[in-house]
């Protein structure tokens, strides 16, 4: 892949334009850069493989592809310790509540990747009676990685796009903000009972 192709991502360009338009504080902007550099290079995934893509993800962790080169190697088994969730495989009706729950358990700032055709759109199982046609119906997705299953190189590409996104984000006052309980309840009225 050529370098200019790698940089060809309208979504991130828009994000940068938005940031530049609102302007950044000189001091805070520098701290943002420093922290984002650290965050982007220590992205911890949550182990969340449901089918074939999970095997390719294991190959990503094994010796040949070695995701430790990019700082992705600390695959966590608890959502509370992970930075992002990479949905590897089909999500079916029975699994959907579990996925949403895991997503809510992740600590902010958090990201989600839809990996493979099934997670992107339902893939080969689109139209089945119990398959969710794309996980973006359930949780907000940052990066989509097509493929069935995507090659490890494609997964790297997707993960590096996530790194790029993190590097241009505003950390202080941006993704680092703490959500007030009242705000959360007002946006998720169905969870009000459980939170109180």
């Amino acid at each position: 892949m050529k370098r200019e192709d790698f940089k060809d991502n309208e979504y991130i360009d828009n994000l940068v334009a938005e940031l530049n338009a609102s302007g950044a504080n000189v001091v805070v902007g520098q701290f943002d850069k420093l922290i984002n550099w650290g965050r982007a290079n220590s992205l911890w995934p949550l182990c969340f493989g449901t089918s074939c893509c999970a095997i390719e993800f294991m190959h990503l962790g094994a010796a040949r592809h070695d995701m430790a080169r990019f700082g992705f190697e600390v695959a966590r088994n608890s959502a509370r310790q992970a930075d992002y969730i990479m949905v590897q495989g089909t999500i079916v009706h029975r699994m959907a509540p579990a996925l949403v729950r895991l997503w809510e358990q992740l600590a902010e700032p958090k990201y989600a990747i839809a990996c493979g055709g099934c997670a992107v759109s339902g893939g080969p199982f689109k139209g089945s009676y119990c398959v969710v046609d794309g996980v973006d119906q359930l949780i907000p997705i940052d990066v989509y990685i097509p493929g069935c299953p995507p090659r490890p190189e494609a997964m790297f590409y997707g993960l590096m796009q996530l790194q790029r996104k993190i590097k241009v984000e505003r950390f202080f006052g941006g993704v680092n903000r703490q959500e007030k309980l009242a705000d959360f309840i007002s946006s998720h009225p169905e969870k009000a009972e459980a939170m109180e």
Partner: protein, 546 residues
């Protein structure tokens, strides 16, 4: 074969017979229980291995197709049981005779709503407890408003029922609970790194000892069998690669064999050799993954990297010839999709030459380790009788001493000509299952070396049969085909009405049976052994759920 027919017709004069590739018996639901007892108990019949139960909806009637095998004579029998009542279809359970029916009858209930009287635990298997309707019925209402994506917790997870037939013929429902209120239940899954996918197990424990394990499947149930009914035959091939993705070639080979059998297509010899080579490479890569995962589950992280190092080299071979690493799509009806890459034989020989040394490394790293031995020897024991009753085939079945390798018992393709040994152990514990896989790697290498020689002797590029029809329509009828996949006997059942798409396509997966035996294998052992036992049983979740 004639003896079986005589014996059955003497006992059940109303039974209808048909001679297909195996003897086929059709009986009414009322006679089924008596026939089943004879099939199991009568010394002249002795069908001790229930291969699979296929639920089916024939519009005017519903029922099940049972496939049996006699493990000593290798006689096959198909029994078709029908009931005309579509509103409340009821059959008698055979779960006390063949334990595998415990889980397979639940699958039929989930898909068709057929109630099995006498089954101790009649509840849904794959779908949510609040699912509306039975999806594989031909009159199923697929309206998404009936079954939206529900994000609440499933209600009444513990509720189950047993249906009993009263003396006057009415059916009485007895409500039961999977776990009693006073039981201490540990939940495990669905998102857990050691479940090898999205499996959920609930174990009730007394101190550290497991009393009962309740596997909950369906977290990756994608409804493949229903999808197949709306696809043409070449399109259905695509799903087989995504069920047990560690035996993609074997599964696809099985479906191709079944369709070719129905159409009477003869596959060229070169294509057959290539198919078998791919099957064995797949088995090799699958056993390497099992080794890696089992060792990692027990804490030996280094061993995982060793297993994956060789796997990558096999995936390279696949990539050169098939163009993909995992969803290979290589077998097609009549042969394979393209001839092998020019480097193929050289690469396979290279794998064969390195594997013996690498195997020594594996054994040095893990097999001889005292902790590994203590945690696997004498743990999770299944006896040979258990394995047959639960239909646990493949390496897990052979570890009990049961000769269940389909490549030997019912050779398909060119396996008859090949010289290899069927690996069995006798202990039936986790260690025996592990050792069967390691020794099968040696046999894979032995087979691949022979196959390389055979392929060199078979030049040309006859990789596909010349006369495969453009539009594939199977004649009306039903077919069943089994192959030995990496994890056991994989079966395909096709029922056709002469259309372009199958009327019913059922995949009889080995892993579902293995999961059915988890309770038997784990009860009485420690909760810490649950992981090692399930890792050594080595199931792949999308194969269970389909």
């Amino acid at each position: 074969m004639a003896n079986i027919q005589e014996t059955i017709s003497k006992l059940f004069p109303e039974a209808a017979f048909e001679q297909g590739e195996e003897l086929r018996v059709t009986v009414d639901a009322k006679q089924w229980r008596a026939l089943a007892e004879q099939l199991k108990g009568n010394a002249d019949l002795g069908f001790d291995y229930l291969v699979g139960i296929v639920g089916c909806d024939w519009k005017e009637s519903m029922g099940c197709v049972y496939y049996f095998t006699n493990t000593s004579t290798q006689d096959h029998l198909m029994v078709k049981v029908t009931t005309a009542d579509r509103e409340h279809p009821v059959l008698h359970s055979v779960s006390d005779l063949w334990k595998v029916a415990l889980i397979q009858e639940r699958e039929v209930f989930d898909f068709y709503g057929i109630i099995f009287t006498g089954h101790p635990d009649m509840r849904r298997l794959f779908l949510r407890t609040d699912w509306v309707g039975y999806p594989l019925r031909k009159d199923y209402d697929a309206n998404p408003e009936l079954n939206p994506v529900r994000l609440n917790q499933e209600p009444n997870e513990d509720a189950t029922a047993e249906y009993v037939e009263e003396a006057d013929g009415s059916i009485k429902k007895i409500d039961k609970k999977v776990f009693e209120d006073e039981e201490y239940v540990v939940n495990f899954g669905p998102q857990h790194p050691s479940t090898h996918g999205v499996m959920r197990l609930r174990a009730s424990i007394d101190g550290e000892t497991i009393l009962k394990v309740d596997p909950m499947c369906g977290y990756i149930h994608r409804g493949i069998e229903k999808l197949c009914e709306s696809k043409t035959y070449p399109q259905t091939l695509m799903f087989t690669d995504r069920m047990d993705y560690m035996s993609a070639h074997q599964n696809r080979h099985c479906l191709c064999l079944c369709i070719e059998k129905a159409l009477g297509i003869e596959v060229p010899r070169r294509a057959q050799i290539i198919r078998v080579m791919m099957d064995e490479l797949m088995r090799l890569s699958s056993h390497l993954l099992s080794y890696g995962c089992m060792t990692m589950d027990m804490g030996a992280t280094t061993a995982f990297f060793y297993g994956f190092r060789e796997r990558e080299e096999i995936l390279d071979i696949f990539e050169k010839t098939c163009g993909a690493r995992m969803s290979l799509h290589y077998n097609v009806i009549g042969g394979v999709v393209a001839d092998v890459h020019p480097d193929f034989i050289k690469d396979v020989r290279a794998i064969c030459s390195i594997m013996p040394d690498r195997l020594k490394e594996y054994h040095k790293l893990f097999t001889g380790n005292v902790i590994a031995q203590n945690r696997t020897k004498g743990v999770g024991v299944l006896s040979k009788e258990d394995a047959i009753s639960y239909s646990v085939t493949g390496p897990s079945g052979r570890a009990t001493g049961w000769h269940c390798d389909v490549r030997k018992t019912a050779p398909y393709s060119i396996y008859k000509e090949l010289d290899f040994e069927e690996i069995t152990e006798t202990a039936g514990d986790s260690f025996a299952r592990y050792m069967v896989r390691m020794r099968e790697i040696e046999q894979c290498v032995k087979l691949l070396e022979q196959l390389c020689d055979l392929l060199e002797k078979e030049p040309g590029n006859d990789y596909i049969a010349p006369k495969v029809p453009k539009i594939i329509k199977l004649p009306a009828g039903s077919w069943f085909q089994q192959v030995e996949a990496s994890r056991g006997a994989f079966g395909v059942y096709i029922e056709s009405t002469g259309e372009k798409s199958p009327y019913r396509m059922h995949f009889n997966s080995p892993c579902l049976n293995i999961v059915g035996s988890v309770d038997k294998a784990c009860a009485g052992y420690k909760i810490a052994d649950l992981i090692t036992i399930t890792a050594s049983l080595d199931y792949v979740i999308p194969d269970i759920d389909r």
